[in-house]
């Protein structure tokens, strides 16, 4: 089974990765965003969460294909994102990354539209202030590249810990974010984006474990040809496993946290 890990080039040729590409109707490409989606999909699939009678909660879903893919498996999904006014303020609407209606979440037609309508609800949600009504209601939660945008490293940590409350016993949370490969001392911490250092992730995991949650993590960074390439702004290179953010080389990290 997958465990918490960095985005690795070797994953891209694994059967689970190719299978997820097919399910998400995505062309295989060496892009970390695709890795995040496939990683989340597979982590949940192999844990038996993508089935009817399961409930999933997505944070900052934007227009990503995961919501529709999960609903196509019969999962009841509550997909959440910032409300439109705040999303506009932060530029997500202008870059076409924010869903404004339920139909936007199934624009690739991954799920039968009627089935989608029956299973998916779309709600505005503030990841810094998770609604207590979600507590204990879900078999899984997920987010892709979202919790680094919550204002600070501490906000990100708080989100990861707090969102665990939404899970039922036996539930699992799968979240991806930015990971600083350059430094474990300095990092980027701006209101719109932070890059988590190893020590930030470790602190997060320590707190999660302290609360009785299970996390296993592997920080191995690959050295393959594509992951040795660092993409630069405006990030238009087809190879995009690592990128330069400010002065830091960053990649994606996926966290899988289980509530026993």
């Amino acid at each position: 089974m997958l465990q918490s890990q960095l985005c690795r080039e070797t994953d891209f040729t694994q059967p689970w990765f190719l299978n997820a590409c097919v399910k998400l109707n995505e062309q295989m490409r060496f892009h970390r965003k695709l890795w995040e989606w496939c990683y989340i999909y597979e982590a949940l699939r192999e844990r038996g969460k993508l089935m009817p009678f399961r409930r999933g909660l997505g944070f900052g879903v934007g227009k990503e294909p995961l919501t529709a893919a999960f609903a196509s498996h019969g999962v009841e999904v509550v997909a959440t994102d910032l409300d439109v006014a705040r999303a506009k303020e932060q530029g997500w609407v202008d870059t076409n990354q924010h869903a404004v209606s339920l139909a936007d979440l199934n624009e690739r037609g991954l799920c039968d539209p009627h089935q989608f309508q029956q299973l998916v609800t779309y709600e505005s949600a503030d990841m810094n202030n998770i609604s207590p009504s979600y507590a204990g209601q879900f078999d899984f939660t997920w987010s892709s590249c979202s919790f680094e945008h919550l204002g600070s490293i501490e906000h990100g940590k708080r989100f990861i810990v707090n969102q665990m409350e939404c899970l039922r016993p036996g539930g699992v949370a799968v979240h991806t974010t930015e990971y600083n490969l350059t430094s474990n001392e300095d990092t980027l911490e701006a209101p719109v984006l932070v890059i988590f250092r190893n020590r930030d992730i470790e602190a997060m995991i320590a707190e999660l474990r302290g609360r009785g949650y299970r996390v296993t993590v592997n920080y191995t960074a690959g050295t393959g040809p594509f992951e040795s390439y660092v993409d630069l702004p405006p990030y238009s290179n087809p190879v995009h496993l690592r990128l330069l953010l400010g002065q830091y080389v960053s990649t994606s990290i996926g966290l899988i946290i289980e509530k026993l």
Binding site: P52, H73, G74, D112, Q115, F226
Partner: protein
Amino acid sequence: MNIAFDMFFAKTEAMKRGIGRYSQNMIEAILKQETNNSYYYFYPDVSKGADYLKDQLQQFLYRNRIDVYHMTSPFNLFHLPASLFQAYSDTMLNKAWFGYTRVAATLYDVIPLVLEHQYMNDFVRPIYMRVIEMIRSCDIIYAISETTKADAVRLTGMDPAKISVVMGGYDPKFKPLSPGTAATAPLRYGISKPYVLCTGGDDPRKNLARLIEAFIIANRSLAERYQLVIVYNSSDDEKRAMLEQARLLGGEGSIVVTGYVPDGELVELYGGADLFAFPSLYEGFGLPIVEAMACCTPVLTSNNSSLAEIGDDAVYQVDPASRESIAQGIVHMLSDPQLAQGLAAKGLQRSCQYNWESVALKVTEGYEKVYRRKIAVFAPRHPFYPQTYGALYHAVPYLTNRGEIDVFVEERLDDRIGEERTEEESPIEVYLHTEFESRKTKYDFIVYEIGNGERYSFVVPYLAEMARIPGIVVLNGSHLHELAWMNTVERNDLHGYYRVLDKEFGPAAPHWMDAVLGGTAPRSAAPLDRYYLEHAKSVIVYGRQTRDRLLQRSYRNVIEALAPAVALQADKSGGRSPFRFATVAADGSRPPHRLILRCLRKLIDEGCSNVSYTILAGREAELPQGAAELVSELGLEPYVHLKVEPQYAQFKRLLSRAHAVIALSDPSADASPDIALELIASSIPTIVYDGDFYRFVPDDATAKIQPGDDEESVLLLTMLKLYRDKEEREGMSARASACMSELHTLPNFSEALQEAIEQSSSFGENPTVLWRIQESPGGVPQIRNT
């Protein structure tokens, strides 16, 4: 296979009841199986009327190309509140709405028909019977017990052959308490004595009133040592009524009514009970007794319905209609610990057979049984005669048991499958290939036949469909350069030719293009298949060598089959003199005409002058250049006859009257063996080059010669032998006929096709050709073939 589950139950009260639990467990167990099926979930909206429901269903079936639709709770309307049940009673699914989609239904019981006086009234009856009609029309019905099946057959006239008994399963959390575990649940529910457990319900069918009565009688003879614990989500009124009944019967304090109990605690209650009593009047599947058996609790239950079927000799059976019978049973079980322990042990063993994996397996086997793929078959014409279709076309009727078949052809010929059938009766539709585009969304599988011949050219543009719709290719030869050549270079499409080369050779494509077009490399040096086969789920080939060649070149899912041979049905009567040799030049077979003519000359020179030799050519181009001059040069004009594009009847007559046929085709041409096999199957003594295609034809059933230096003398000797030895010819004919009718038959071939189709489903997303990802010089990853 695309399978849809009807999820109406998940939105109604049924979800909290047995049907909901059954459906949920069944669906989850099916999804956990390793199959390549895709699953969809349909939520019928009955609130907008039948027309809307029909439209909603048909859009869903069409969009998702559903093969099997499973009605998990066909009596779903009966789970609605009374007001909604009345309002929506006209809105139910109709089998006619499903078209080609196969429909399955789970049948839990027919209790309203078994206990009619209790459940039926004038309003309910017609609605109930409409659902029964709908179930009866389904392609497969899953009964949850033999009892349900027997009652459905007896009371509704359902076809027993359509009913598959799948039984049910229990949750693995129901198991014996670990030794030393102190069960705390009994204390929590106020149980103060050893107890008899019963899980009930508000339905009179559960027979709780009689059980209370019987227990109080039994408990008296057991010195009031026991309590009866009744578990279900009872209302306060129901609880009061049960306690009041016990008080009136003098059993005050001996009854405990728990109300709802979570499963975890229920396991403890089972484990702590001295006896589980379940004297229901009827059950479609008695899950409570299975759960009790799984907890190693001795069981007393009814001698009727599925309870007797499931419990068999692992339970104590009583007559549920008799208070005395139940009371005696309770006394017997509680006063004979050896009996109780023996039944508990047997019950534990018996419970193992009721598991959801087994249910899921039987259900999916049922899907497979009724599933009919929608298959498109691209069938080229006959290799020789243009007014007839080839063998693939004739194999199609054997596939109709498992699929709806549409055949796509280059042009419509007067060669209908099954000549005695009327158009209406034929299960096969024949279309011009140009109609495929407008029909292709209907198909979930495609079968193609290709090879090196003009007759395959119309198939080529449709091979790309395999990227979207799974397909298999019947391959005549493993070296399709000639096909590529005639479809690109001969049509002035050099760019297309480059694309084919690029798929095969990648960066070396320009080199091969220059070499072949420049004449420095023969086309035979550059095998080209990948362009045509890259998306095929499997490839069927006729020879082991062809198979091995493909496997060596990184292909997989290559299936070897025996080429089918359809014997010529022709009148053999007529003159038998002179001795007739014939040969067929068709489909790029390039027979060695010069060699044959030289042998013919020598044969005549040997004194065998009473011969004739007929060359049957599919088209003018099949004749070798200078053939007429050679005939003249060898003085063979009186003996040799050329027939170009003969009519089919003439073709059949000429061949069937031949005493021997020389079916030698240029080994390097990689031509299909169709015609030679057809001749052998027609019991005509046939001379062939020894090769892979004929390895199952015994050496004495045909005349096999080796290509090589001495082939002229060998061919001459063979011709002489056939000319002189009538007995040899007749023996050869008989042996050929026997072999071909056993091996190279259409049913055998269609079986291989069927196997390839079935296997292709299990190959999943695996391509036929292995690929790997390479870094291109520019640093951008590209996918290249190995």
